[in-house]
Symmetry: C2
Subunit: 460 residues, 2 copies
Amino acid sequence: MSQDITEALRASLGDSLLTDPADCHTYGYDNSKLQGQPMAVALPTTHEQVVAVVRACYEHDTPLLARGQGTGTTGATVPLDRQSVIISMHRMNRLIELDRDNRLVVVEPGITNQQVQQTAAGQGFFWPPDPTSAAVCTVGGNLAYNSAGPRAVKYGTPRENTLGLCIVTGDGRTLRTGVRTTKGVVGYDLTRLMIGSEGTLGIITEATLKLTPLQPAKRTLRAEYRDMHSAAKAVANIMASPVTPCALEFMDGNAIDMVRDELAGRLASDTGALLIIEVDGLASQIDELAEQVSDSAKTTGCLAVHQASNEAEVAALWDVRKALSPALRRVAPKKINEDVVVPVSCIPVLVDRLSEFSKTHGIHIVNFGHAGNGNLHVNLLYNPDDAGQQKRAEACLEDVFSTVLELGGTLSGEHGIGLVKRDWVAKEIGPDSLQLMHAIKRQFDPKGILNPGKALPPID
Amino acid sequence: MSQDITEALRASLGDSLLTDPADCHTYGYDNSKLQGQPMAVALPTTHEQVVAVVRACYEHDTPLLARGQGTGTTGATVPLDRQSVIISMHRMNRLIELDRDNRLVVVEPGITNQQVQQTAAGQGFFWPPDPTSAAVCTVGGNLAYNSAGPRAVKYGTPRENTLGLCIVTGDGRTLRTGVRTTKGVVGYDLTRLMIGSEGTLGIITEATLKLTPLQPAKRTLRAEYRDMHSAAKAVANIMASPVTPCALEFMDGNAIDMVRDELAGRLASDTGALLIIEVDGLASQIDELAEQVSDSAKTTGCLAVHQASNEAEVAALWDVRKALSPALRRVAPKKINEDVVVPVSCIPVLVDRLSEFSKTHGIHIVNFGHAGNGNLHVNLLYNPDDAGQQKRAEACLEDVFSTVLELGGTLSGEHGIGLVKRDWVAKEIGPDSLQLMHAIKRQFDPKGILNPGKALPPID
């Protein structure tokens, strides 16, 4: 069988098909550290080749997984079956059209987020989604996970910033979804259904992205708080005020402790939580906007608000946040990094509970993330090679997820589900909804060949 | 059969079921002027009653149409079959919760848009969708059609401003879709799939709406242009600049002519197009924001930009626009009002083509609408009781729709499809997409009882 499918793929792809196990190996992992071995890797450069690949896989009942640059953290692009074909979209990386007057850009999915930003900036625009991995991650991947980043607090996620898609379904049909305009209500919204579906419904071959004008000025502030309770009050206060920040990031006390040395006394010693806040606007107005947001940030328990007045000071304010990831990796290279979301007002409750769980399970937990969206990156620092620690971390994670759901939150804000959170989905989504989602998938992908076993838990 | 279903409905609804033909008659129309006669009208007050109504209709294979206040313009709530049951949601009109810290409001679908705005305003917020009928139209209707209004140009449509829904599917399952947070990527996006589906997938019994902080100040401007070409250049220019207006409305030359007398010389005589522009922001900054947008509006062909400096002047600027609808109704009470959308840069091409069609078909056409979204309300003024005129109007509409699609536009921006545009949908959406949409509908509504024959054209 693997001979047949390989020949079918070769016929449309020629040299753009990898079958040597060593070549294939490098396409079988993502940033979850999970690894699988695909049978073949397709490297299409055209929509027609994608159609041919899907049809060949459909014909031969072969699992097909689309991937970009492998920056995902959930194993969504890791093959579970050694008969799988990976379709790597990184060669379909053209920017097809930038239409200033209609504020849109048409791209292929393999283009990096950064390339889009650079080209758009040349015309005075940006595309709001800005994951930390923007320099290397692809737009296709951003759409697959609905990946956002700090700017989502003001400008939204891919679902709010994508006008239309061209996709290939699991049986090789080509569909154009959505519109080229910012309004449209003809037929059902298949564009948003595709976004966040992790390659389980179709393979995106083109995307029409909505652009937003760049603001001429930005100001960065760091607000320090006694504890997360006072920081969360400030977040709610800021979000209820007319000046919506374009970033509203937080770090809890444990996160601050990780980098306290590197901050060389720049933080007050009793700082138990901090916010990094950015506002954007017209250059002539940015002082007042920063002043307003600074006022909103000064709730009870606020120890200090620092404002950067030049580029070097901006860099210094972000240093705290940027020093964190390397520090975490030094302590625990195989840490679990979750990206749960809770209503903003529940952030302090969650952080308190996480502190309890940390004690109960003996796992060090460090939290930071996108406060304005209630999106917490919960980092469990442990050594998975220690069986005891591994078991305690799993039990701890179970408590974390249960608490998130109890607080009316959701298991993932921007990383997606993939493999690693898949078995948790049924705790958030009821059995009827889950069955309906599977039924919808079957309409797109009748044989279930597209990224099987990901995103949704299997049902009976 | 009608006896059986009536008894089943009576069992759960008691007095909240209307069966007298005269009572039912008033629930069989909408603002399309179409009218049908339902067999019964259910007036539920609880989610459980909605479930009971759906189950009874499912059991008895009876068409079921949800409606709000009947302000829709497409016949989407008009029964096609005399055995239909109407479920009128207007008694489910509670505001369940307003959560300031999490910027959301939970409502039942029968609440009016205005009630939501009033309650939200008390806490310093608004819900962006603002159809002209806001005073009477329901949130459920806004969600069913993805109805927006002028503010969408800055703040988006219901799809960008709804976090989650509670729905009842066509076989009586209750599903909770979405989240209570502004990020979330667990499972497929059923919330947006529901929005704009015109009651064909499920009946909404509760909606969690995302609120936005009110801006303290607003400024209104009227910009006059020689023709639509120069006005459209200004629109593109404004939309590419950092200050995005919160309304960007236009009127073409014919629209201006309709109200020129009432303007008593306030417009320059050679004004061939005008824009009404609103900006919002901090009170201390609004002058500069208005100045910036005014600068962006001053493209070649701009004759004048007037800025209101007080409430009376704001009213005077809007008078032009508001005088239009009554004037149109006086001339042609049964006019066709379309709401096509084209890319902003194509507005002048469309307006020119409309002018040609007007001559070819002998039908007077007046255009106004939401320029920032490319959303044109194309009004065909004619007398449908005159068979010749009716035929010419239909032929004209055919040309209008073909042109819109040729320009990369869409048939509806905010009115939806209902019955009146249904047979046009297949020209915009390819057969594969249409089949997939029908297949998706079957997963929500296996017997096809929910608003049959609406929104999507039938397929073989």
